[in-house]
Symmetry: C2
Subunit: 669 residues, 2 copies
């Protein structure tokens, strides 16, 4: 079996792909965005975020660390995470270069690559922390020290940079490192049967396999996945003993944070550290796709089902607990203390995209879209300069301060994983919008721009014109070189009750075309064919499952894929006291002046008057409520004006107000 | 000025008391309880809790620590808290001995006292940890090491034991220790101007002053209070420097946990560690009462106002945050993560009682009662053997386990402050039920039993017959030796809308008698006079202030002073999904078989059917609700059957149910 992924930057190869991999993402360089919702955001990502992050990597020592000249006693030793931060920035830069050549940016990357090449040990080993700070401790603590994790990000960066520029230097460096890793880890005698405490290298090795065609990288990825969580005895126990630490009596719980409490195929709940868990799932899906491993794919689907139907915020955020940045238990989705790390949300997008290319089921695309437009976009400020690590669904600033949590997006973090993760996702957005299969183009997301595809020996150009998600329509022009027969699969969003499609002005009967949420339109496409889609976007009130105890009696407002929130600046303090009558009419309107233009939802709510409480904390009298104007903005835009309360889940009441039937009394509070 | 508190176990002295101290608690040995709500609980406290705690003090080494034979390298060194745990047990035992002589118990206390006397250093110093473990570090870290805190509890124990038994040995030991402390601390040259990081010694020194008549103890208490939080520079900075730690630039926040961020008279919010804050307030009230210090009393009242009108749970629990066991900010009263440490709630009772004796304002008694019957009683199991350290107002067992919190009452704790604190409060309950002023007897709480008072040269016996708080009536027989004129002040509970009083069958017009929530009945009382009180106890729905964001749209059920809760065992899981229509009739009924007999509230609620969700996590369709029977039990009785969900604040809806107006759709969850 040979992967259909492009082994050179030039082309896809569908000649012999396994049945599990039906399609591959569009080639990045062939997708461009102009106007609409995304182009300005991607430009900010390219112009502001990428260069800001480079500057911060420089300032914080992430780049100079590669000179390996840190000496004991000096401040600021290269941290075990640093290689990954910089690698993600390289990956983001590479994606950007694929669509927007930029000599200055390329020079910056080349500069770093030169340092890396020089830093590489003769045996291929490559890690600034362990080369400069703890050379004797290589591979002695896989559980905590992130060596393979850093290796994975470097590999992703190398593959992306090679595919964007054709330059092989970084890829060669990382192949040597991967070969070294392959010589250290494996089932063969003398090798370590270990794996990383923070997954990432698995999916990276599959990328490296796809880029180089070398099956040993795929085999190594599969080895890491297959070994995970097995006991003969447990590898993390073995290496702890080798370090002179007694791990004590076996207890699977201690490796749950690392998804190593059970072999991966026996895991049914997404557990532990959320980013790790979803990077693992992404790697599992990649290996399953390339090998046709059905038990692995089944495990992926079980874990997908668990996370999306029991452990995901309505924003697509995942990993609800601050302590351990982790998943807790089914339906445990606290709003104010939500962790929902930006990286975890991005990792859910990765996982969704991988399953989507195995099976074009719109359930995956629905979650991918939900997460992208809400829990990922919230991670970066409108100006592209500040980032949320944590994406709560409610905020009371005093509560956040009281817990030592930040109330605003930050410029950078001690562990700066999220900012470059956003940058690389946005810079590669084209790969999430379109996939291509044999004789099929699949549109997962609606975003204005142009995409080009090679179908056999012919070229097809798709031009999307849409203000989605603000507006309800999208128009796609299909332009093959010459008339040709193929399938255009269009995702019908799960949130949409009545999508309509017309081709060249003629309404299409959707029902017979639908397969797993996609309208599969197979026809002889002619240059200039016009597909018009209409997605009615009324304001929807969403309920959460009754077991989500925090959301009982509450609704979230959603319009199209966008989840809304109330902010203090628009609605005054004590947002939790606001309630929304069931009968209240909600109006959506585009406001071009607000937050660079956004659809805002307004309506009437009810609230009590705190001034009438005369210093009482508790009382028996039923309070009267009065009508107040409500204004909700898209969740991802919150915290772009000033810090204050924010609330996604709004209390709903079934009638239009008035106090309780009881009379006032002489109760002393 | 001389304190009206009894300087011997025999008598009160009102000859010359300051204007701020209008009354003193009843003498413990003169109050007995029989039958009714309290007697069985106090018997459990005496028979089970006291002996269980002694056994645990023995097992854990708290007692043998006094032999001072711990040697470096041995396990289980005496902990800096230990003296206080044992001291509180001694105090509890003493109160018990005051009303229920018990040779065995007295022998146990005497055994410990003998060890203490032998352990005492020649200069009077007395602390097992510092004598046995860190002898060189005495008084070097007042902020963290609890030396004065332990001293305070030992003093309280000594005073109680002396007053109960007349035995002076322990009192003499502690006077020597107090004299030593007085020689170390003060404004005089060569003395330390420090104070304890954990307040307690202040109120204890006032007790010692009252028991001995020696004003230097009162003066020392006042010194500790007056010095607190002053900067010339800050004492905790000074002692940190002396220990070789650079405290860094001044930042008041670092001493907020210790209420030392500001001088006490400048503090307007109850801040930091809750037990410390309320022990400080109690000490401040004591010093204000004994000295007539108006600025100190004003500070007490400001802090009282803050805690009770902005920072107290409806259960009377205080200190909402786990991290730091502390107060956070106004109206921050999370239910599931409530800390509300049993000791803090008890400390609020102490503070209330002290203010009540300065000024018989029923606001203080209302809070004292609320806390006693809810947030304190919840701290101990029905069988008297298990204790809550933390008293949440909602529990989801999985959430508690996920946060490493316990879901059940525990036998003991590493820091075992709460169990003996409950024991000493219950054993001294009589002091909270009655006070006596010049020519006045004040009844703060209603509890079946007999209390005797000396009024001048005459004796008065009050006999209460009542099943309060289960039943709505109380009958008090007043029996002076001979007819005499005095005031009987009866508290009219703040929760009661229409109290009725009859004397010898004749209704009383209450309005002209009311002063600050007390009906002050001044008359010539004759032997056999019968006062009948009726407190109607409908089930009340209580609302919290709109700024308590966790309670918006919710009500708590209260009947009389008792706050109710739902438990999973009675109402199935997902308690948060239950809502209570405003129109739902709630019925209260005594069930003699449930939890040793309790009034249970039943009614109809509404909830959704989770089975109808087909694995969806979010959906646009409005759910239908169906009617379900609800059963609420007194909050303090929860967790006596089996662990499970619990909920105090129940969602309220204004109409009787039905789904939203929307139709089902093809939305994919």
């Amino acid at each position: 079996m040979k992967s259909p992924y492009p082994s050179t930057p030039q082309r896809h190869d569908f000649a012999a792909h396994p049945t599990t991999l039906k399609r591959v993402p569009a080639l990045l360089k062939n997708v461009s965005f102009n106007g609409g919702f995304w182009a300005p955001r991607l430009e900010t990502n390219r112009r502001v975020t990428l260069s800001t992050e480079y500057r911060l990597c420089k300032q914080t020592g992430h780049i100079d660390a590669w000179k390996l000249n840190w000496k004991p006693g000096q401040p600021n030793p290269p941290h075990i995470f640093w290689d990954s931060d910089l690698a993600k920035w390289i990956e983001a830069a590479a994606y950007s270069l694929a669509t927007h050549p930029d000599r200055m940016l390329e020079k910056r990357v080349d500069g770093v690559v030169d340092l890396m090449a020089k830093a590489q040990a003769p045996d291929g080993y490559l890690n600034t922390h362990f080369l400069a700070v703890e050379p004797a401790k290589r591979w002695t603590n896989l559980r905590d020290c992130h060596e393979l994790y850093c290796a994975g990000h470097l590999i992703e960066g190398a593959v992306a940079y090679y595919q964007a520029t054709g330059k092989k230097k970084m890829l060669d460096v990382l192949c040597r490192y991967a070969d070294h890793i392959d010589s250290v880890f494996g089932r063969e005698k003398g090798k370590k049967r270990g794996y990383c405490g923070h997954e990432e290298v698995e999916l990276a090795l599959v990328k490296l396999y796809r880029a180089t065609g070398k099956r040993r990288y795929l085999k190594l990825a599969k080895f890491f996945i297959d070994e995970r969580g097995r006991r003969f005895p447990h590898y993390f126990d073995l290496e702890a003993k080798a370090r002179g630490k007694d791990p004590g009596k076996w207890n699977a719980e201690r490796y749950r944070p690392h998804q190593a409490h059970l072999p991966v195929r026996a895991q049914t709940k997404l557990a532990g550290h959320a980013v790790r868990a979803l990077y693992l799932c992404s790697g599992m899906a990649d290996v399953a796709a390339e090998t046709g491993d059905r038990t692995l794919l089944a495990a992926c689907k079980r874990l997908w089902q668990n996370v999306t139907s029991q452990r995901m915020y309505i924003t697509g955020g995942v990993g609800s607990a601050h302590a351990g940045e982790r998943f807790t238990f089914d339906y445990d989705l606290p709003n104010e203390s939500a962790y929902a790390e930006t990286c975890a949300n991005i990792a859910l997008v990765f996982f969704a995209q991988r399953l989507l290319n195995i099976e074009a089921d719109a359930r995956y695309a629905d979650v991918m879209e939900r997460t992208l437009y809400n829990g990922v976009l919230s991670g970066v400020s409108l100006d592209g300069k500040r980032f949320f690590y944590v994406n709560p669904l409610a905020q009371h600033p005093d509560a956040f301060r009281s817990s030592n949590w930040v109330t605003e997006r930050q410029k950078w973090f001690g562990c700066a994983c999220c900012p470059p993760n956003i940058a690389r996702l946005f810079a590669s957005l084209g790969q999430y919008v379109y996939s291509q299969g044999p004789n099929e183009i699949t549109v997962h997301l609606y975003a204005q721009g142009i995409a080009r595809f090679k179908m056999g020996n012919r070229a097809v150009r798709l031009t999307q014109r849409t203000e989605y998600p603000w507006q309800e329509t999208a128009e796609i022009s299909v332009n093959p070189d010459a008339p040709m027969k193929f399938t255009l699969s269009l995702r019908i969003p799960g949130w949409c009750r009545r999508t309509a499609i017309r081709i060249n002005g003629k309404p299409l009967s959707l029902r017979p075309l639908m397969r797993k949420g996609y309208a599969r339109i197979r026809r002889r496409w002619k240059p200039g064919d016009r597909v018009e889609l209409t997605f009615p976007m009324p304001v929807e009130r969403i309920e959460a499952h009754p077991a989500v105890r925090m959301d009982c009696g509450r609704v979230a407002l959603q319009r199209g894929p966008i989840v809304y929130c109330l902010e203090e600046i628009d609605n005054r303090a004590n947002l939790d006291d606001i309630c929304l009558p069931r009968s209240s009419r909600l109006t959506a309107k585009f406001n071009p002046r607000l937050l660079n233009g956004a659809v805002v939802i307004t309506g009437q709510g009810l609230r009590r008057n705190p001034a009438r409480w005369d210093g009482q904390l508790y009382r028996m009298e039923a309070s009267k409520t009065k009508s107040v104007a409500l204004k909700a903005i898209p969740y991802f835009l919150w915290n772009n004006r000033k810090p204050g309360e924010m609330l996604v889940w709004i209390r709903e009441v079934n009638s239009a107000g008035g106090g309780r039937r009881r009379t006032a009394s002489g109760y002393r509070g």
